[in-house]
Each structure stands twice: as C-alpha cells, then as structure tokens.
Amino acid sequence: MTQSSDDTWTVTIVVPEESSLDEAGETHEFAVSENETILAAARSAGVWLTADCQQGWCITCAARLVDGDVVHPNARRYDTEDREAGYVLICTAKPRADSTLVVEQYDEFLEFRAANNKPPGNSKLSD
C-alpha cells in the first residue's frame, strides 16, 4: 500500500483485547486521506472509537503509533514529548504515511502526562 495520487494512506487500527469497545481484539484497516483525521475516518468506516473534544486537548482519543507517520496540525495540547513517546491524538491526527496505531490508550497516556507533570495528568489521578 503506497501513496496514491490523492494522498490517501492506509491506516490500521488495533483495538486492544481489554478495551470495552465491541471491536475489542479486532484489527481494522481503512483508507484515510491526508486531510482527514483518523478518528473521522474510523467513525465513517463504522468503528466508533472513543473521543470527546475533537480538538486535541482532552486526550480521550489517545492512541499509540506503532508504525508510520502522522501530523497534528490542529491539536490544542500536544507536544514533542508526547510525539516522541509515540502517543497520538487521533481526533486531530492526519496520516503522512501508511500507519498502524493501537487505539484506546487514554489511561496509558494519562499516566504518561502525570509522570511528566503535565495536564490533565495529576488533576485526574491525584485521588
């Protein structure tokens, strides 16, 4: 699967076994154009992944990039440290290569943010 003329990429979504989604344990593959978010593409493909703000802020939609490349042009709270740790906010992430992501990583990303003293981290974990 390579880049086609309209810059569409193949995105593979791995839904963890322990997720509460109906799709737990499944892997889904769909085409995502370079201007489309992975969340929007997944939902149009019938996979209702978890999200809230859809502005790259709340981290409800967190995922982990296993392979490939994505950009976050409109994310409101996402930094290079997040990126280097492999976390992705699929509500704002747009592919720049064929990519594979493990989705539904909110708890893990929240821990990561807390460990790095960044919101919403400790504000959600302190009690």
Partner: protein
C-alpha cells in the same frame, strides 16, 4: 411475569445510608457512576473555564455591541451549565477539586484564550486582534461543548435519565450557541448571510433549557 430488569436495588440494605440507590440503579443499568461523575467534573470544568474566558473575549469585542451581547448570553449560560450539573456530581458522590488549577487542567475543552500574544508590559497586544479571530475562538469552544455533552448523552442514554436530562438541556443551548457564532463569523469574515434562526435571549443569559433547577435565584 418476570421483568428483564430488576427494579429493586438489592445491593443496598434497608436503612443503609452509606450507599445511594440513586447511584446503584445506574450501575445496574451498565453505567459506572464513578466514571460518569468524573466525566461530569471534566465537562463542568470546561463550562467554568469557558465562563471565565468568555469574559475576556467579550470585552475585547470592543465597539461591537451586538457581538458582545450574544457572547454575554453564551457566557452566562455556560455558568448556568456549571451550576446545573454541580449538584449531580455530589449526588454521585464526587466533589469539585479543592484547587481551581486542577479543575482547569482537567477541563474537557481547550482554554478559550484571547487570540493574540501578550505585549511587553504583560497586557494583550491588541494591534492585530481581529473580531473574526475572536468569533472563531467562540465558535470552536461551542463545538467542543456540543461534542462533550453529546458524549454524556450517549453515556447516560437509557441508564441515567437524570444526568441525561441535564446533558440534553445543555446540549440544546450549546447548539444555539454554535448557530449564533456561525452566523456572526460568516458575516464578519466572509460577508455571508448564514442565519442562526434565532435572536438574542430575552434577558441576558436566559438559559431557557437549563435554568430549570437553580440552586437559588442567583444561579
């Protein structure tokens, strides 16, 4: 004939005040009341920060009295949304964070800051501050609120009619707000007529859907 659902709340002993049937009936219907109430705190954190940020946004709409009035309605209604749901958090045995910084950090929507850098003296650099940029911040804040309350409607539908009722009332007003700012931004930025279909509230921040259960008349 046996019901599919147990309408009893068998897990709570008669006279036991350490548990709330009001929460257990939600659990029995498959929603975790603790998870729900934490989500409510995030959501009203966003209502509260938005109430704050809109104060600033509205006053920077200098000379645009009509925009200011609409923004004021949206601002006061966000406060009404906060007030409406606070008691529900406590009913579900949650609480507001003691530290307002925690409350803001966990808000489920972004800070709606005035879209301009600070100047050297620590004030807003308003030289390039455009009305349309403020309207866009307002619009995107409303859109976030719509998504959040839709999520809470999804979470509570068929399981928690009390929270669902609150969320759908708030959602009604957030959809009004989005329509207002689409109309204003379309006109201001694109010189396009894109009617909201409504007018300003009768009284500032009327909150026609969400002031059904005020703490008292001040709220």
């Amino acid at each position: 004939m046996a019901n599919e659902k147990e309408h009893g709340s068998g897990s709570v002993e008669p006279g036991d005040t350490s548990k709330r049937v009001g929460a257990e009936v939600i659990r029995e219907r498959g929603v975790d009341p603790e998870e729900l109430r934490e989500k409510l705190i995030d959501a009203i954190g966003a209502e509260f920060t938005t109430y704050y940020y809109y104060t600033n946004l509205r006053m920077h709409l200098a000379g645009e009295e009509d925009y200011k009035e609409i923004t004021e309605d949206a601002r006061l209604e966000d406060r009404a949304h906060f007030e409406l749901v606070v008691p529900r958090v406590y009913e579900l045995e949650g609480s507001l964070p003691n530290d307002i910084r925690d409350f803001a950090d966990r808000a489920s929507c972004p800070d709606a800051e005035v879209p301009t850098p600070m100047d050297d003296s620590g004030g807003f650099d308003t030289e390039d501050l455009a009305v349309e940029d403020i309207l866009e911040v307002l619009l995107e804040a409303e859109r976030c609120a719509i998504r959040t309350w839709s999520e809470i409607c999804d979470m509570t539908r068929g399981a928690d009619p009390r929270t669902y009722d609150m969320a759908q009332r708030i959602l009604n007003e957030e959809m009004d707000h989005e329509a207002w700012f689409i109309e204003l931004l379309s006109k201001e930025r694109d010189d396009e007529i894109n009617p909201a279909g409504h007018f300003a509230r009768g009284e500032p921040g009327d909150a026609p859907y969400t002031k059904n259960n005020p703490f008292n008349d001040s709220a």
